[in-house]
């Protein structure tokens, strides 16, 4: 079975507003729900905004963009699961 692709809403569907060092507020236009996210969730959404990625490709993308030499695959899987749970990304 192929690795699942994770898909995020396109940029025009999210209103992203960093509030302070810790939290980013995101308004999801499709649902009207406000989300309050901590890193790396906003970075994951940004990395997935252009095109869906597998978890491995996403990890590479985050590692390159944010200089994460040893991105933990289990932690990333947990963050992805949380974002799927709240409806901000989709796995297919």
């Amino acid at each position: 079975m192929a690795d699942p692709l994770f898909r995020a809403p396109t940029v025009d569907l999210l209103h992203v507003c960093p509030l302070d060092d810790a939290f980013t507020a995101i308004f999801h236009r499709a649902s009207g729900i406000t989300h309050l996210l901590v890193s790396p969730a906003p970075e994951i959404l940004a990395a997935l905004a252009d095109a869906p990625l597998t978890q491995a490709a996403l990890r590479d993308r985050l590692a390159a963009a944010y200089d994460l030499a040893d991105a933990d695959p289990q932690a990333l899987a947990a963050r992805l699961a949380e974002l799927v749970e709240v409806g901000l990304i989709d796995a297919a």
Partner: protein
């Protein structure tokens, strides 16, 4: 409605109708310095819970476009409180022109301090004490945040003083006009106070929000910074229409918390709170 009154409080126009003359006469007197509402935004009805209850143990039900099913009827002697609650409810649930935050607001030099907190945090008392120290009273119930301008519009309704706040306000404003003392209400003892003439005269003058405070009564004086993310969460909870406004509310609130510094203050009494606020104001 047999008896009615139209009154404008800042940008909000009300028509208040009642089955009885007395509460409307009382409201008309207390609101006599306010302009009339040409086209009311909200209509509030104080009606008898049953037709015969106009006369026998008169009991007031609150009605309007919005009602709370669990809102208990109040005895006629508490009709002023019923009117206040109904006016708040219509705005809280129906207002769409502003992001509504449960807060008192005072202003100086065009800049506003927004004091938010639960009922009992001392918002009304503090706003009254600050007004006696030269601040402009802009409201004790809702901060009306304009999503377009980012300014706070005044909502200087009658001040709703409760319990210990009544004596404190009377000491600060001995010559103000007051409504009757309403004892034994669901909120304790209530007394309404007419805001000072300056507050009413300036009810169309907005202010730039400059300081957000989360006051808490009953502890030794203390203060701490509140980060924007915490202020955001607490204000979504303090807003009655954040969800209803959708993205406009999100944009207004994120702009507010990112531009307005926020502090939580504990205070043992009104004088201490005023001193704390003025010190923070000087340092902002």
């Amino acid at each position: 409605m047999r008896h009615s009154l139209a009154v404008r409080i800042g940008p909000i126009g009300y028509r208040i109708g009642a089955d009885w003359r007395a509460p409307i006469d009382r409201l008309r007197d207390l609101y006599r310095d306010y302009p009339s509402a040409d086209v009311p935004d909200f209509t509030v009805r104080l009606s008898a819970t049953r037709p015969w209850r106009r006369w026998i143990r008169p009991s007031v039900a609150i009605a309007g476009d919005f009602t709370l099913p669990e809102a208990a009827p109040l005895p006629l002697a508490q009709a002023l409180l019923a009117a206040e609650m109904a006016m708040n409810l219509q705005l809280a649930l129906g207002g769409r022109r502003h992001l509504l935050l449960h807060a008192a607001v005072v202003e100086r030099d065009g800049q506003a301090v927004v004091l938010t907190g639960e009922s009992g945090a001392g918002k009304s008392t503090l706003a009254t004490l600050l007004a006696a120290r030269g601040w402009r009273f802009m409201g004790d119930e809702f901060a009306l945040l304009d999503p377009v301008t980012g300014l706070v519009d005044p909502f200087p309704r009658l001040v709703s003083l409760k319990n210990g706040g009544i004596a404190a306000a009377r000491a600060a404003w001995p010559h103000a006009r007051y409504g009757p003392t309403l004892a034994g209400t669901p909120k304790g003892t209530i007394r309404h106070m007419v805001p000072d003439a300056e507050a009413i005269a300036a009810m169309d003058v907005p202010a730039t929000p400059a300081l957000l405070l989360f006051p808490r009564f009953g502890a030794a004086s203390d203060s701490r910074h509140v980060p924007p993310s915490e202020a955001f969460v607490r204000l979504t909870q303090a807003s009655t229409n954040y969800v209803a406004l959708g993205e406009a509310g999100f944009a207004a609130l994120t702009r507010f918390v990112r531009t307005v510094p926020a502090m939580a203050i504990d205070y043992p009494d009104g004088d201490a709170a005023v001193a704390q606020l003025e010190a923070l104001w000087a340092m902002r």
